[in-house]
């Protein structure tokens, strides 16, 4: 290294004095402890002397040498510098594993050790290989985590990798995925849509209400989608005008739509807020576990999600509309100079978001079989989490729906895994929270301010 200073191995004077002081303090402490414990005087003297010698020696050989960077310890020090974070991280992980093994009965067995090794391997792989990926780093890390979670899950939980479980995971993933379409697109634009859960709930109740009134189900379905899209358009207009407060605008619109739907549905009904009715068979088939797609044994909603994801991924990459969306998200002013209509994009993207939220609400009706206004409440933060974990920036212009698909799958497999090992909802949420941060920290760290000047 270039900054090796030519100093005596003994170190500078202040360092020596500090070392000596620490040694003396430790010695006094050990004398005090010995007297307090009523040990024989010889032992106290012996141990105190040993403490003094040992601490002084440790200080002399390690701390001073590291601090001054002398020739003898240069290599060691360089190695330490280079792999400092890795070594510390490894030690922390080992500590956590040890703590878990001690505190939880039956935690320590062959499978958990193998799982831990797999996780370690994933971390090492992502740290080493991911370093070379500039563009799709988040996708790579997401896939690695997905693979790791899946392998650990199938080792530790019976029936985790069975066809039924995979089917149910995909089913729930497709609900979340369809709900996150809007959030992803809006995030690419640089906004946030907090009305999604309320639109989902309103669509869920509204569809059942309309079919209960005798409207043919498919017309009702289309009407609900249209209404969702309309609300999205309004959201888009308002958010465009009120840039700083877009968060609150969409939230307020959400309150309005969910309150309004409930008022409408409870007029002339003695069960306020509860809607009863029969869900059409084709809707049940569309999104229940027992559904089938053209004779194949999986619910069509998975296929719908796959097609939608494909269209979105290809469309965002290869159409003019998609490319302009990114342009608008990255820099609004320059996009305006290119004659990209800001208003058109905000309105259409928010409209799409509202439409897909309404669509998800309708599909959830087919899954649950009964209308419930709060059915979407968990999607408020889950859609955000899926977007963020996938790697789409909330500031706009970076990311894509492909990333969100990975994010959705990671969240879903993780939920399934946590349910599988018998954790309750609150612990699941806690672990979710604890995992989002390190996952995002692996790929979405912003540069230090001094490099931005």
């Amino acid at each position: 290294m270039t900054d090796v200073r030519n100093q005596a191995p003994a170190g500078s004077l202040p360092a020596r004095i500090i070392g000596l002081l620490i040694a003396v303090v430790l010695t006094i402490a050990s004398v005090g402890l010995g007297l307090y414990e009523n040990l024989p005087a010889q032992q106290v003297i012996l141990y105190s002397a040993a403490t003094l010698a040992l601490s002084a020696w440790i200080w002399r050989f390690y701390v001073i040498q590291f601090a001054s960077g002398v020739e003898g310890a240069g290599e060691l020090r360089n190695a330490w510098r280079k792999y400092r974070s890795g070594i510390l991280g490894f030690l922390v992980l080992c500590g956590v594993f040890f703590l878990l093994s001690v505190t939880i009965d039956g935690f320590f067995n062959v499978w958990t050790v193998i799982s831990a090794l797999i996780l370690l391997l994933i971390i090492i792989l992502t740290m080493s290989v991911g370093r070379f990926m500039a563009e799709n780093r988040s996708a790579f890390i997401g896939l690695m985590v997905l693979a790791g979670l899946f392998s650990v899950g199938s080792m530790n939980i019976d029936g985790f990798s069975s066809a039924t479980n995979i089917k149910s995971m995909l089913l729930f993933a497709s609900f979340l995925g369809l709900a996150s379409i809007g959030q992803t697109l809006v995030a690419l634009l640089g906004g946030l849509d907090l009305s999604i859960p309320y639109v989902i709930g309103a669509a869920n109740v509204g569809l059942l209400y309309l079919t209960g009134l005798g409207v043919p189900p498919w017309i009702a379905f289309l009407l609900i989608m249209l209404a969702g899209g309309l609300l999205g358009v309004v959201n888009g207009f308002l958010s465009l005008r009120l840039q700083g407060q877009a968060l609150i605008v969409t939230l307020g619109a959400g309150f309005v739509i969910s309150g309004g739907t409930q008022i409408v549905t409870s007029i002339g009904s003695e069960y306020s807020g509860n809607v009863f009715g029969t869900v059409p068979d084709w809707l049940t088939n569309l999104s229940s576990m027992a559904g089938s797609t053209f004779g194949l044994p999986f619910p069509p909603v998975i296929a719908i999600w796959a097609v939608a994801a494909l269209i979105l991924i290809v469309g965002l990459r290869h159409t003019v509309y998609g490319r302009f969306l990114y342009a608008l998200g990255v820099n609004r002013t320059s996009a305006e100079r290119l004659f990209i209509s800001e208003r058109g994009y905000w309105v259409s993207i928010f409209g799409l978001s509202g439409m897909f939220s309404a669509f998800t609400g309708c599909l959830l009706l087919g899954w649950s079989g009964g209308g419930f206004i709060g059915v979407g409440s968990q999607y408020l933060f889950m859609t955000l989490a899926a977007v963020v974990v996938g790697g789409t920036s909330l500031l706009g212009g970076v990311g894509g729906y492909g990333f969100t698909v990975i994010g959705v799958l990671v969240l879903q497999v993780l939920t399934s895994f946590l349910v599988g090992i018998g954790l309750k909802f609150e612990w699941q949420q806690f672990i979710f929270g604890m995992l989002i941060l390190p996952m995002v920290a692996l790929y979405a760290r912003s540069p230090h301010i001094r490099t931005q000047i």
Partner: protein, 451 residues
Amino acid sequence: MSATTAPRATAPNLQGARSSPHLLMPMTLLFALLIIAVLRSPNLVTNAGLGSAVIVAGPLILATYALMSTVVAGRGTVDLAIGPLISFINVTLIQLVAAGALGSPIVTFVYAVAVGMAYQLLMALIVIYIRVQPIIVSLSGYLALSGINLVILPRPGGVAPDWMASWGAGTSVFSPVMVVLILASVAWLLMTRTAFFTHLRLMGSDERAAYTSGIPITVVRIGAHLICGFFAGLSAICFTALIGSGDPGQGTTYTLISVTALVLGGASLGGGRASIAGSLIGAVDLYLITYVLSTFSFGGIQSFVTDLCYGAILVASLLLTLTLPVIQRTLGNFSSLLYFVVLAIVALGVVLHSTFPYATLGAPAATAATGLLEAEALRQTASAAPHDARIWAFVGILLLTLPLLARTLIVGAPRRGVGPVVYIVVVGLALLAVYLATHGYAVVSLGSAGR
């Protein structure tokens, strides 16, 4: 724009009068709601009514203050975890009290504030050193804390410490929660006078500029988060006093409401701009919306109508901010302080009207905002009806008319430096008001001869 160019000659003098236009909207909403609330239910302006209003709105106002300090720090630091954090302090407090570990008020305060500050310190360190977007840090904190809250206290329950029982009673305006609120507001106001706050605002509006001009941005950011934690702790204490037990599920509500209050009060979520008056008014607005809606009865669909109106008022009031530039252009030098005073006088007139015992008087009294006439009417009829509200309204009108006059005089005067007189007058009147409030009954009975 002749209106904007004309006062340029005397610009330095008039700068003080041109305060934040962002306050106009929340102020209008505040007084509109206040008038409706008082007309619907005059009980709000009695001593007990105001007392319970303070108790209910207290945690919300403090939570908004807490959020404000990080929002000013920029980078979009909207701490979504503020609600779960308050809930966390609340449930741990309840559990510790149940275990007998916490007892005295001082220890409880220290505990709440310390937990809040410790959590926020951790957040600040993560934001600074791991350099993840703050919104992601707060999202992660939101999920983790709401999970752990349910682990600590699976369902609402438990009992608050004994000394808190009197806090949550809400029988008088002069409750401990009011003291906490006033102290917190004063503390914040004092903080805005420091260099630290200037640095904070600079960092919020342009972090690179702050860094290059040598501001220790790390220290400033940590400071902002610590202040946030401090107010979150206070809010949690008031929240515990309000519900008198533990509730792990209030997280989402408080987060959404306090963010809303902040934005309604004119703060910019982008950073660099927020005012304590705005946050206070925004939070009170939200309280009043719920209060007004609760005075109407919709039977089974009450909560739905509340949702609908809540959302509609939010969107509408935000839309009205779009008219701000127009107002500014037409009115030029528009003082929001004067606006506040005028609206307050109108509102207090309505308060007097709604609480006035017309039955005993026999003839309708003037409800216009002319202080002296009201005073005469008040003295003649202060007999049997509840004294509380009328004293308050009367003192309030007096309080507000004088600074209005003083202000008009000062703005008209060419000399600068008379401004402090206004504040002295206001402070003096506030002291008078406190005196009158404590000795209120005596004053009124003096007026009504023969009691």
